[in-house]
Symmetry: C2
Subunit: 426 residues, 2 copies
């Protein structure tokens, strides 16, 4: 925490109004999911820009309608005292509150000329881009690799917050996995998302170091019924049956941690768990399989996204329907069948993944796939059993390789005057 920008001065209401301009209605609107979605009529960077409120019961960036671009980052905390960790989280809180509203880190102009600027500047002039910043705590924050309780919080580690087990066909790379802290930056403009991670990384200098990061360029799930279903790099619509913000009861049941979920971790109430998986797709192999094979493996038709049992994209698959050959129309090893709630004790997840392409390997194959993100109330009953089953039986697994992994506890939203993790650390 050696940077002048690490602890920006509190932004006064007057200054805030100054930035937001006349007519702004920051934080005014909201919807059932508890995420305030403010549509400003005027703002620091022009008219008609959109932003989401930073403060709230839950963190933004979960049921918030999925933005188009992602920069995800995991950090190792190098600070050794609880006081330093607190300083970092408070500085991140102030920076996140500013950047999500389209304001520069550190309060903006006037800049001290003989000091480094408070903000790195590459997002100046850009709209806020619906930026959301969602923070999580990894198991190693509570107990490091040696089992050490660096910050005096080991007794508050949620029972479900453990490193994910090894799944069949995992090919995890250490440099793409785990971390003490994570930040999911989502925005409509990648420059806005990258700017946010860069500035958080900069603020963390001396307290936490970037461990790994991942850019995603196309969302692969809708989290709101207002959004069209996007396509993954297999060319198929993905996330048709995803949990949506407009199902608040289901979101409460499957996403938000309840007050009584875990005796030792009441601090996590209104939070969630974030599962991150970097899933490489063997797209060159996939591209040489027939459309019939592709559709059989997925269990849906490619063009419309309808289940092979018939209907349109949003028709429920009929898993019992058989064809003339006596075989189920939705094959036994198809992804749609194996991932269907009826095959998984009614379990659902809120998925929020992104397509990625990171250059190519030495053989000229694109290093591309799906950066899977899911929010669940309890990984032990939701993600883990489903992935155990999928990784064993799903025909698609032949074309997938999991190369990165992380599980993080996502604290509740920050109340005004509070800071990230205050329910855990105070």
């Amino acid at each position: 925490m050696t940077e002048p920008s690490a602890t920006p001065p509190p932004v006064s209401r007057r200054r805030l109004l100054g930035y937001a301009g006349a007519g702004a209605a920051v934080g005014a609107a909201g919807f059932a999911g508890g995420i305030g979605a403010a549509r400003a009529t005027d703002g620091p960077h022009g008219e008609g820009v959109d932003r989401y409120a930073f403060h709230g019961t839950h963190q933004a960036g979960i049921v918030t309608p999925a933005q188009d671009r992602l920069h995800f980052a995991a950090f190792d905390v190098t600070a050794t005292s609880r006081a330093e960790l607190l300083l970092l989280l408070k500085a991140w809180t102030a920076a996140a509150a500013a950047m999500t509203q389209g304001r520069p880190v550190g309060g903006g102009v006037p800049l001290p000329y003989d000091a480094p600027p408070g903000d790195t500047g590459e997002a100046a002039g850009l709209p806020p881009g619906r930026l959301t910043l969602t923070f999580g705590f990894g198991p190693s924050l509570f107990r490091d690799a040696d089992g050490k309780d660096r910050f005096g919080i080991a007794d508050r580690q949620p029972a479900a917050l453990r490193r994910l087990p090894h799944f069949p066909a995992d090919a995890l790379q250490e440099q793409r996995s785990d971390g003490d802290l994570c930040v999911q930056a989502c925005a409509d403009d990648p420059q806005v998302a990258v700017h946010a991670i860069r500035n958080l990384s900069r603020i963390a200098f001396g307290s936490a170091a970037l461990r790994w990061s991942q850019l995603g360029f196309g969302r692969t799930s809708s989290t709101s019924t207002s959004q069209a279903t996007p396509r993954n790099l297999f060319g198929f619509k993905d996330g048709t049956a995803n949990l949506k913000a407009e199902e608040p009861k289901a979101v409460d049941e499957h996403v938000w941690v309840g007050q009584g979920d875990d005796d030792g971790a009441a601090w996590l109430a209104d939070g969630s768990f974030l599962v991150a998986r970097r899933i490489n797709m063997m797209i060159e192999t996939w591209d040489r399989t027939s459309l019939r094979e592709q559709e059989t493996l997925v269990g849906r038709d490619r063009h419309v996204g309808a289940p092979l049992s018939g209907g349109t994209e949003f028709t429920e698959p009929d898993l019992s329907l058989k064809g003339n050959d006596g075989q189920p129309l939705v094959a036994m090893s198809s992804h749609v069948r194996l991932a269907h709630p009826t095959q998984n004790n009614g379990v659902r997840m809120l998925r929020r993944g992104y397509n990625f392409t990171d250059g190519n390997d030495d053989l000229g194959r694109l290093d591309a796939g799906l950066f899977f993100i899911a929010y669940v109330r309890d990984p032990a009953t939701q993600y883990i059993p489903m992935q155990t089953r999928l990784s064993r039986d799903d025909g698609l697994m032949e074309y997938l390789r999991h190369t990165g992994s992380g599980l993080f506890a996502v604290p509740p939203g920050v109340r005004k005057g509070g800071f990230l993790g205050d329910t855990l650390l105070t």
Copy 2:
């Protein structure tokens, strides 16, 4: 060329009209620079979408207003005969003509069910996204590493098409440099750009292998006066003084190869040279320097982008003006001074670079910077002397590391009925 999709059937005019829908005006409009910019009123993916004509005197993607996203790829040709190279370039031509107009590779529906789909599908339903595909030929296409003339074109190698010389402070990585062929895919939507490179790579299977590729997320130059000047990852506006499409005389002088430029390479007339440089920025170090230092190194103020000699963003820098201390206001080692045409024999370039971020290194530093692209009429008199000077004298070089490099001859645009490189190969 073992793929069914590698040689898509020619698209009949009737079929084309079928796809484009009634009321389409594909290829209708155009502007002074010779790039046809068609604004369709109706199209395959909805109303009001924008696309640029593929055919023309010059290739699109050069003076075309810079789109927001980039996927750049370089290929090694593995085909050993001229006939195979011709097949590849013809298949690429057909695919590029389709994809830039928002149509799928291979003609689209109806898909043969027991064959791999002609198109990989992930851009289905997306608008054309102003996709442009710009192709280039590297020196090694004419003479390979052993000096072998694989395709019978060595005598047509342009004199200026040589591997770029070593510049001071170069730290080039072989796996990010050179290549026999290059493709610059630019679009408003990264999924559209990635889809294009993936499908071209797929078509090339057996004829050419992806050597390296680079995603860029934010354009760093304007190529049209209609565009606002964007910012690079140093937080500064970049490309204020760039060549613009609206200066056709200057574009003719500095970008397009003339008929008589090179006796042996008349085939390159109306083409250009593409310089690609992957420039890592030491952003963690940069972020710890004072604003004063940053502005002195750049020679402009950060907020507005005005030269330090005064004025506004588009004021010409006064390189002779001195401050009270007797020193030039625009420092001798500043980037603006050293790159100014008056300091470089009047030379100008058309820059078309993009910001990139590719995760991080082992020390937690972002692997980020500028993927520099410039189009020049003659690299020997334009890029090379300027970069020699900059790499020696520019104070910014302390914060830069060139990690990738490529020089490519960009053939003229494809006429209707022609194919990429036909002036070279027929």
